[in-house]
Symmetry: C2
Subunit: 257 residues, 2 copies
DNA sequence: AGACACGTTCCCCAGGCGGGAACAGATATA
DNA sequence: TATATCTGTTCCCGCCTGGGGAACGTGTCT
């Protein structure tokens, strides 16, 4: 885990931290029990036990066999979260249809905590398999979604996020510093879409278009595919057009809601 | 909320309870702030403040405007939960294709805490709109998914769940007591599928088939539609066949994993 | 300028919570 | 069958944490 410069001060509650440590652990590895959790987190069994009881009563976790796993309540929470983000149905519909039309991977992402989170993803029929899943967090400097969203955030927020970034080179093409990033953002604003030319994963290219409501950016929609199919020409041509028009449809539908 | 007879004893941790009360509240209503939350939960502002700080540091919640909402991390958690349940991709694929084939609503549900949770849902093109969403919990006695799953649970678990049930009549056809329920379960076991004849919502009928792994039930798959299209004959005929063969495909694919 | 929201900070002190150890079952090993 | 060694559970103690009240800072209305 990277250091977190955005740590605001103020008191934080230990028991709650422990509870979420347990949840995090169960997210990584389901089916473990009291002893194992206690060892892993460095707490006494009795402590962990009380916590598990609490979480179980809350239906956050479920006993299964001889161990615990996270409960299905999280699915419900997740669907509420999506709804709260606004117009998820339209986003979903547009992403799905673009994926079907093009046969590639289409994703919609929003910014949170200085990273991109994927809200929805659809795979067309000859889409490449990638590891990214809905909900995953990715850095903003190495993805077209991230750069595109960043380009349209308010200047002070761009500064803030850029300052907290650690430029880790994922491939030979990854952006490695702020100057380069700011130039790229400028380009994106000029052409109205963003490109990822194997900057995050070797062999993969993406184009993204911003989705705005008035002047505030809501997120971005992207299409991803292998460099073999995604030539320079297609990227800047028809593929860019695809995402821009999809973004437009979403914008039009969200504007009046 | 119904009373919870399954309350195991044991110590439970107050601060964690408070934290989840806050999360629950934010799930219901996003965008509220410290004061409002404090009022709603009957805590002091300072208490709520510390909790919000903790949750924010954990990225469970996010500041937005002047209020908080649940964070996108929940999407990630939800996708982990689905994976942990086992073979979600196969379930998803089968549900989607059945929905496309029939044009109706297809759902997959599993039992948790004596209720049915929807793991996945797909709407065909002329599907009726229903309120149920992924993650929602429904009672077991009034839904075909619920009854079907219940029918194949171990006897002692059936007893346990049935004992904790409160039979609330949703429509004129809702099952109203244990005897009636047990008879119905017997019928389901005999015919190998379960029917909901407007027992949960007026005008809607469903058929469900169980998905088992060896002798343990994993969940059930159902198809839902308006009574006008879902006649007695179709329900027990082609529609039952549809869900049973879909259930079979899932069973075959999960068996060897 | 005043009044009233809001979020934040400070401090206090009771009681909640973490930990150690003892206890209870279940499974394994001989 | 007895012994050992895993589990999960319960009990109790004492520290310190977390909840509450009140003061404070700030912005937004009259």
């Amino acid at each position: 885990m990277s250091p977190q410069p955005n740590k605001r001060p103020g008191r934080t509650i230990r028991s709650v931290q422990i509870a979420f440590n347990i949840i995090d652990l169960l997210q990584e590895e389901a089916g473990i029990g009291v002893t194992r959790i206690a060892d892993e987190l460095g707490h006494s069994k009795s402590t962990v036990h009380s916590h598990l009881r609490t979480l179980e009563e809350r239906r956050i976790i479920v006993r299964e066999g001889d161990g615990y796993r996270l409960g299905l309540r999280f699915l419900d929470v997740a669907s509420h979260v999506r709804d709260q983000i606004g117009n998820f149905d339209i986003v979903q519909k547009e992403v799905d249809s673009l994926a079907e039309e093009t046969g590639e991977i289409v994703q919609f992402g929003v910014e949170e905590y200085g990273m991109v989170s994927y809200l929805h993803k659809a795979q067309g029929e000859h889409a490449v398999e990638t590891l990214s899943r809905v909900g995953t967090q990715q850095p903003m400097y190495s993805t077209s979604l991230g750069k595109t969203i960043l380009a349209y955030l308010p200047p002070e927020r761009i500064e803030e996020i850029a300052a907290a970034m650690e430029y880790e080179p994922k491939t030979a093409n990854t952006i490695t510093g702020p100057e380069e990033l700011f130039e790229e953002l400028e380009t994106i604003r000029e052409q109205g879409y963003g490109i990822d030319d194997e900057e995050n994963i070797n062999g993969l290219r993406c184009v993204s278009a911003p989705v705005k409501n008035d002047e505030t950016i809501l997120g971005a929609i992207s299409i991803t595919g292998p460099s073999s199919r995604f030539t320079e020409d297609r990227l800047h041509g028809e593929l860019a057009d695809y995402v821009r028009s999809a973004a437009n449809v979403i914008e039009l539908n969200t504007k009046f809601s």
